[in-house]
């Protein structure tokens, strides 16, 4: 995950090394391309340990509420993705010469909300595709169309925060992230039992 993200940062930083203005315009999109695709790599692995020795069956046969298993997986994925993002972001600051001191708090909130949305829906699709032979291909194919609203909201909010815009200029995108988080978590929580049992 980290290696992939480092490559993305390096490639983009060299691409825009001559044009810092263009880089500043695009940096929010670059950040979320790196975060999302890095996250998908992690999400794809979240159920692979259950493939060994038919461990998925032990989750299926557990009398515990399946929602609890889902929330456990979401929490693990969320913490893992957020940790990677927190490790990577200083590299973006360094390579793209970003001035983020005043926006750090807002950016952390945006990262938190967008990562929660991605991990909520990503965990569900990871469970759905884990037993498919071409799961590495199917996960992004299924996940990305649903994750687009989260990505757009995250990019717009991040751009606003990095440009130093007043909070009210981009707060609607943060509200949108909160709404998507609630919808994705509730629907995925409810659907997880059917996916695990099917």
């Amino acid at each position: 995950m980290l290696f992939f993200a480092l490559i993305v940062i390096l490639v983009f930083s060299f691409s825009f090394s001559m044009d810092q203005d263009a880089a500043r315009q695009l940096i929010a999109g670059i950040i979320w391309v790196a975060f999302t695709f890095t996250g998908i790599i992690g999400l794809g692995k979240s159920f692979t340990s259950e493939l060994q020795n038919d461990c998925l069956e032990s989750l299926q046969m557990s009398p515990a509420p399946k929602g609890a298993i889902y929330l456990g997986k979401v929490t693990a994925n969320f913490l893992f993705m957020l940790s990677v993002e927190i490790l990577l972001f200083p590299l973006f600051v360094l390579f793209f010469n970003l001035d983020v001191i005043e926006a750090v708090g807002t950016l952390l909130i945006i990262f938190f909300l967008a990562t929660l949305g991605l991990s909520a829906v990503g965990t569900l699709f990871s469970a759905l595709t884990v037993q498919i032979r071409a799961r590495e291909v199917m996960l992004p194919v299924l996940l990305l169309p649903l994750a687009v609203p989260v990505m757009i909201a995250a990019v717009e909010a991040t751009r606003g925060a990095l440009n130093g815009d007043p909070f009210s200029f981009y707060s609607q995108w943060i509200h949108l992230l909160v709404i998507f988080d609630i919808i994705f978590t509730v629907v995925s929580f409810w659907l997880f039992e059917f996916i695990l049992d099917s």
């Binding site: 060994q52 020795n53 038919d54 069956e57 299926q60 046969m61 557990s62 009398p63 515990a64």
Partner: protein, 224 residues
């Protein structure tokens, strides 16, 4: 209360019928051994009883709970020991026991786990990761799980596979203990000699139909 009640149960994959119209009852304190050739549907029937697959038609209840509509209630009473072993390769034997029993809402103490591992002959490997275990050791860890879980209904898929002589004796001891405390055992097996030593009743699944075997027929081997 009947432990397993199967009524007109059928299973088909598309047009291919695995078995049809199976009906039988198994009472608490019984050990039922299911025999049959490869591909007869023994494991499919076991997996349906374990709530891992749904029947195409018919019903079954486990201790009075509907196996399709009340899955979670059924899952509290059963435990499956299958080929897959349900063990995480990256966890140690003790961690696997903690996790598996945690999923059942149980939390055995360290001394309890140590006793179960010692009893199954793998106490010395308690902290070893499962990826270093042999098939027989994994099977013994499954038995340790069952010793700690004490399920009302123990479902065993080919329980004697990969086990040495002492492992077979341990499996039979576990089955006896389950029966003594009023539990029920349902096993699928090809090992007629070992199974007839312990089973109280049985059946042969062949050609999609089940022929029940009484305890007398099992003892005398008259049906085989």
């Amino acid at each position: 209360m009947i432990a397993i009640q199967v009524t007109s149960l059928s299973k088909a994959y598309g047009f291919y019928r695995i078995f049809e119209d199976l009906s039988f009852d198994i009472h608490p304190g019984e050990c039922f051994a299911l025999f049959g050739p490869n591909g007869a549907g023994k494991t499919t029937l076991l997996r349906i009883l374990a709530t891992l697959q749904t029947p195409s038609s018919g019903q079954f209840t486990i201790f009075g709970q509907d196996g399709v509509a009340q899955k979670d209630a059924v899952r509290e009473t059963i435990m499956l020991i299958a080929h897959g072993s349900h063990l995480y390769d990256e966890l140690s034997a003790t961690e696997n026991l903690q996790f598996a029993l945690g999923l059942r809402g149980q939390s055995p103490s360290q001394p309890q786990m140590k006793r179960a591992l010692d009893r199954t002959g793998i106490g010395a490997f308690a902290d070893l990761k499962i990826r270093q275990f042999s098939a027989g050791m994994k099977k013994r860890l499954d038995l340790a799980k069952a010793i700690l879980a004490q399920p009302q209904l123990l479902l065993l898929d080919e329980p004697y596979n990969a086990l040495d002589y002492s492992g077979v004796a341990l499996t039979n001891q576990l089955i006896l203990e389950t029966l003594e405390r009023g539990g029920t055992v349902f096993m699928t097996t090809h090992d007629r000699d070992k199974a007839t030593q312990i089973a109280t009743r049985g059946g042969i699944l062949q050609g999609g139909h089940l022929q029940l075997i009484s305890s007398e027929q099992l003892t005398t081997n008259a049906i085989f």
